[in-house]
Subunit: 331 residues, 2 copies
């Protein structure tokens, strides 16, 4: 059944075993339509390949064809929780259907580990947030040209990470609950800066379009700054806080409760990302649920589009972001 111990089964082994040429085997296994192969031969080859446990040598394929059929997904070091794996799973699936494979790397900004694009030379590199100039330069230096989101399309049109929809929903949720004066809980963590900025901007737009007074922005990283932030907000008659994510929301709530205030009576707070801990918190935290599966499919479509060139019907983005209402905004 299996091969002799330790040796790899090659297409040549299959050919030899059948008394055919290696080319024929290659044609069958690749399903080449250029070349006509009789039904009988095709079946024999497939059966023998299966019997011997033939696996194409990826490195040889990549060498010959010049492309690795790999897509590298750079995952930021955010505490986005494990829901991201659902996104990865879905994207992998969609890519596999086209013969591509997904490799992920969590990018540790402070670290110096060599980025994977240097040695996997993937066809496409996909990120959740735009890459900075240094990263772009490094990729170009490795001959990688297909990058998403590219410098061209500054923000991917369909808004992959709910950069606009999420904050808008947060603001609208608080507004419907009667909150007019809103604060924004940010973090000063530099590695999050781009995403914080994106979400803050989106929240500002939502506030403006509703005709509400401008957001009062504060950082809530450490307990003391969070306490100060809560103090400032209440001083300014803020009654609702849009948090950058569930972590910021938790910090805000913690500081408010510790200062003797009631959540949501004195201060309503809504987070973002629907981290699993949001539901466990006391009080449980209202949040924005992101459709990670849809996001994964979307990213895969983008990647395939870039890889193959053909535009692929962008069959309606189905990444549905939604509010999950919990105790931190409901009485």
């Amino acid at each position: 059944m299996a091969a002799k111990a330790g040796k790899r089964v090659t297409a040549a082994d299959v050919a030899r075993s059948l008394g055919l040429s290696r080319a024929t085997v290659g044609f069958v296994l690749n399903g080449t339509t250029e070349q006509r192969i009789s039904e009988a031969t095709r079946d024999r080859v497939l059966a023998e390949a299966a019997r011997l446990g033939y696996r194409p040598h990826t490195a040889a394929q990549a060498l010959r064809r010049g492309s690795s059929k790999l897509v590298l997904l750079i995952i930021p070091d955010w505490p986005v929780g494990f829901s991201i794996s659902e996104c990865v799973e879905e994207a992998s699936h969609a890519l596999e259907a086209e013969g591509y494979s997904l490799v992920t790397q969590t990018h540790h900004p402070v670290g110096t580990a060599r980025p994977l694009w240097e040695l996997l030379d993937p066809e496409v590199v996909v990120g959740f947030a735009p890459f900075n100039q240094d990263e772009l330069a490094a990729m170009r230096g490795c001959g990688i040209t297909k990058i998403i989101p590219g410098p061209g399309h500054s923000a991917s049109p369909p808004d992959p990470l709910g950069l606009h929809d999420g904050p808008r929903l947060q603001v609208e949720h608080l507004h419907t609950r009667g909150h007019e004066r809103l604060g924004f809980a940010a973090t000063s963590d530099p590695r999050l800066s781009t995403l914080v900025e994106s979400r803050l901007t989106a929240a500002r737009e939502a506030v403006a379009s509703l005709g509400l007074p401008p957001l009062v922005v504060r950082s809530v990283d450490a307990p003391d700054t969070a306490g100060q932030a809560v103090h400032d907000w209440l001083q300014a008659n803020i009654t609702g806080v849009v948090a950058y994510n569930d972590d910021s929301a938790a910090r805000t709530i913690r500081a408010a409760v510790r200062a003797g205030h009631e959540v949501p009576a004195d201060l309503a707070v809504i987070g973002h990302d629907d981290n699993p801990y949001a539901a466990l918190f006391l009080p449980s935290i209202s949040s924005i649920r992101i459709d990670y599966a849809g996001l994964g499919r979307h990213l895969a479509t983008l990647a395939l589009q870039a890889a193959t060139g053909r535009p692929l019907p962008t069959d309606g983005v189905d990444a549905a972001t939604a509010v999950v209402a919990r105790e931190s905004t409901e009485s």
Copy 2:
């Protein structure tokens, strides 16, 4: 400076540009000691390679040398939080020093995405928990023989994930605080079963060695089962709960507080993994901090050992697990 647009710079390009043979270039770039190369030539080659921006073609190297120099780390889909990236980063670093690279894949058990070992053919596959029979069979089918933890060494001697130290520390921590009758908060999530079992076993051993009454084990997955668990524990005069992880701890605390009890006065709870949210919870959750950096170095050592064959001095495992005492166990 850089290459002509779109074309890859090969060792042959460097050689041609200098009027040397490709072999010479290869010897210099590989630092081969078998072959003597004059200092002058060596410098010229290195300079020209740098000038042209030469990058070895990984696929070609892998093909020729027969090994991919890749280590695949399978990360379980646990909500272990993002600290795991520190572990990955550290392991990458240690592996790079030996010319190996680390690729990670979060294993989504319910998913059907093809495992990466099928197409990267890594030299070693490393996991946090032992692999099951199906996975082992699949790997062997792809010709992967070096697997950690292997079926041979059932549990890696130095206890990578704090499988023994962590639970022992939890029990001892509660015991020092005067708790004699202890409960164990588990989860019935099947994908966590192996780790839960490991930690439960370790906790039982610790309890036994201290001469305490046996652990009362309950699941705390859903709010109602958690409520029942808390009820059972208090009924049995349990005063301290060892939680499988911080998530279980949070669920336990939530249920206790909701039932009108005080934490830690009525029930002290200690979690595991020191998830970032443990410190934010109300009350903040005592936990076990794992030395992820040390764990990463350790895993890298194990992988190199398996890859190269030479035993590599296991220079003292420095993975230090420690208790982080917080409000959920301190008055």
